[in-house]
Symmetry: C2
Subunit: 446 residues, 2 copies
């Protein structure tokens, strides 16, 4: 854990604080996270350490306590962005989306950003005009401070549905954040989290037009994670100079193969948002299209960060004990392959079989068949970890289950499906379905 | 439990036998199911007693042991049907369906049936030409015995996927069944079961053209249950005289509002089938359309039996502790309402919330929003057990959670959703998602 930490994180007896407790304890005692068994109890067994991420020129991070819940931790994140920062976004397709998503979608179209505010502990969804007024208040408060347009202030909220964001707490929290000392990526990643069990960040660099540009991303999400849109709250910051329209094109394209290809529980949140901010401080000639020098390198680096962030969310899937990669080939199209992959990744029977380390390929067949996509039972092949269990619609006569059983004991599981009809291919990622998911979601009281 | 029982049911250490053990024990000791705690351990807490169902003229039931698994119980059910019996069927939409489904779909179009054979313990799905040959062998064997066309012999199989039905065991099992003494409905209902924890039957009567006609149905199903088709294996027998085309019309219509409105786990089986057989022995003038006297009464009685059977499957949902009825109104169409209802009923977060007796209406909002159907966040109302928690997009200011909390402690849960846009309505049924589902499906080895 890093040392600078602008507000104390104290243990509390609610769900958010419970899952955050390993940060709390490590802060108080200054011990190492990985050397205290008691701290690790609630952390996902698939967690990865937070990477060492550099500052991005033009981005200043601050966190504060708004006290949206009685949890004694920072829950308001503020990112100040240099003048001239371009923005792009992808948002949930859930039609019962929050005011933050409605407003953010309009703001992203304008392409300009000066600040981001993220509230944790209250999603402000399904709160009607009162919720919208709270968001507009935050936008006005920050715009007044920065002397910018309210539309350049982006707001996200995550947490319980149906309770309007308290305007007094938001106002005091924003004021505290504007006064706070700058902090690092991990502090921001921790502060945007709710039920997350570890802080999630990813970075990449690319050489664009002779300049080395850097991308840093943070993300939160653990349950209510489903595909077909940008899920969760994720933010990517880069010092590259990128025109807003091209930034949007790159983000949308990356989204299709990353955030839209993960699922934890098939449930699509009302608030999910991924925003990309480009401050332009790296000094490259602004990227305007794929004809711009270095545009390919930038797009690849952005997609790489998005893929890393998407994987981190799956690794923190509620109750997850195994990270599952489903590779579908031979479908009639890439989109058909993605839908088949998601039918497999969302199947409770497939997910519980993998939790039980059972190479139950019959359940994979079932999931392929229910996907509503072209498939031919007698051309279908299924494998685990690179070993085929069934080919062309029949169980393999000489199928050796031993290496498959060994593979399924691991934490990184591969499921391969060849539809046998065409050239369409896709890879999707999910986690297994365990008692942990039931415990977390049946015990959680709204 | 009824006394006649043509083959002993002995306890075995596999999954099917474990869940059947209460029948086993009750048979050996001739005790009452409801008065022995130890017998009830594995029975669904939502189970209903098997109804007292009369014989249907023209239907003779027999059961035998084919030994598809090493479980020492009857696993082959044979129903002989009088000459002139009409048949109709609805089948799974899973494109990786079994040979039984492929053949049954063709046979049902011909409208004539003389026999039904149901194999339990092996679904014969994903077994290619070898699976198909096993089915054709059974059809030929029975047709030879009855001097009828093979197409008049319907075969269903349920159990593990990917293992061809052993032809020698099938042949000996059919021969034993043809020799066996007739049995009753409960014996047949038990014998078609696999992971079911209780035997499921339903009946109805109607007066048609001056004749009292009777319908008796049996069904099996517990997991891999999802809507949008006929799910599970279900059979309805009636002594009414009904033309095949009209029988199909009535069954398809009943299916839309019953079997297509239930879900346990969103996973659609490869084998599911519902067949209706009409022997014509009741003496009514054959029903040919809704213009025939008594046709409405017959259709209503058939729909009633289908609804009862569908509910029984939900009551035996894997791990179920609560029976949930989701009533959607105010949608733009009935079909839209059904899709919204199923999005709610399939949501792991809604199902775990109800398992935890938590009136988490925010998760219901989320599920409405992800359904892909027209909805307006600010017109949406959500209630539990007849008490509104939110109206017109806002939490109720005077919401009293006490009666809702009390309602959620029960075993029969109502969730009401008013979309506020139109006149479309639908009711769907599901069960909660508990640790039991995980235990059953993560511990089960294929």
């Amino acid at each position: 854990m890093r040392n600078h930490r602008p507000c104390a994180l104290l243990a509390h007896a609610d769900r958010g604080a419970r899952k955050f407790s390993f940060w709390t304890v490590s802060h108080v005692f200054q011990t190492s996270l990985t050397h205290d068994e008691t701290m690790m109890t609630d952390t996902s067994p698939l967690a990865l350490p937070f990477p060492d991420m550099p500052a991005i020129d033009g981005v200043t991070l601050r966190v504060a306590r708004a006290g949206y819940k009685d949890w004694g931790r920072c829950d308001l994140t503020y990112a100040e962005l240099a003048e001239g920062t371009a923005v792009a976004g992808v948002f949930t397709q859930n039609v019962c989306c929050s005011s933050e998503v409605e407003l953010g979608r309009e703001q992203a179209r304008l392409g300009k950003a000066r600040a981001l505010v993220v509230n944790a502990g209250n999603s402000n969804a399904f709160t009607g005009y009162r919720g919208r007024e709270a968001v507009e208040q935050i936008m006005a408060q920050v715009a007044s401070h920065l002397h910018c347009e309210p539309s350049e202030v982006f707001v996200s909220s995550t947490g319980v549905i149906g309770v309007p964001l308290p305007r007094d707490k938001a106002q005091a929290g924003v004021a505290a954040a504007l006064d706070a000392a700058p902090c690092g990526w991990q502090d921001a990643a921790e502060t945007i989290g709710t039920t997350d069990t570890f802080a999630k960040g990813a970075m990449a660099t690319a050489v664009v037009d002779g300049s080395t540009i850097t991308l840093c991303g943070i993300i939160k999400g653990s349950g209510m994670i489903a595909p077909d849109m940008a899920t969760m709250l994720g933010y990517v910051f880069t010092d590259a100079a990128v025109e807003p329209a091209f930034l949007q094109e790159c983000l949308s394209s990356a989204n299709v193969a990353t955030f839209s290809c993960i699922t934890v529980d098939s449930d699509t949140s009302t608030s999910d948002t991924v925003l990309a901010f480009a401050t332009g401080k790296a000094g490259n000639a602004p990227l305007a299209s794929f004809d711009s020098p270095g545009a390919d390198a930038f797009a690849a680096a952005l997609a790489d960060v998005c893929r890393q962030l998407a994987h981190l969310v799956v690794r923190d899937g509620e109750g997850a004990s195994k990270f599952i990669e489903v590779r579908v080939s031979g479908a009639v199209s890439d989109e058909s392959a993605r839908r088949i992959g998601l039918a497999i990744a969302n199947s409770p029977l497939v997910k519980t079989a993998i939790a039980g380390e059972d190479a139950n390929w019959g359940r994979v067949v079932m999931a392929v068949g229910k996907a509503g996509e072209p498939a031919d039972r007698d051309r279908l092949s299924i494998g685990f970890g690179g070993v085929w269990a069934a080919r062309d619609g029949l169980p393999l006569a000489d199928y050796d289950e031993a290496p498959v059983a060994q593979h399924l004991k691991g934490k990184e599981i591969g499921v391969e499906v060849d539809i046998g009809l065409g050239e369409g291919a896709a890879t999707v990622w999910t986690c297994d379905l365990t008692h942990g998911y039931i415990s977390i979601n049946a015990d959680y009281r709204s």
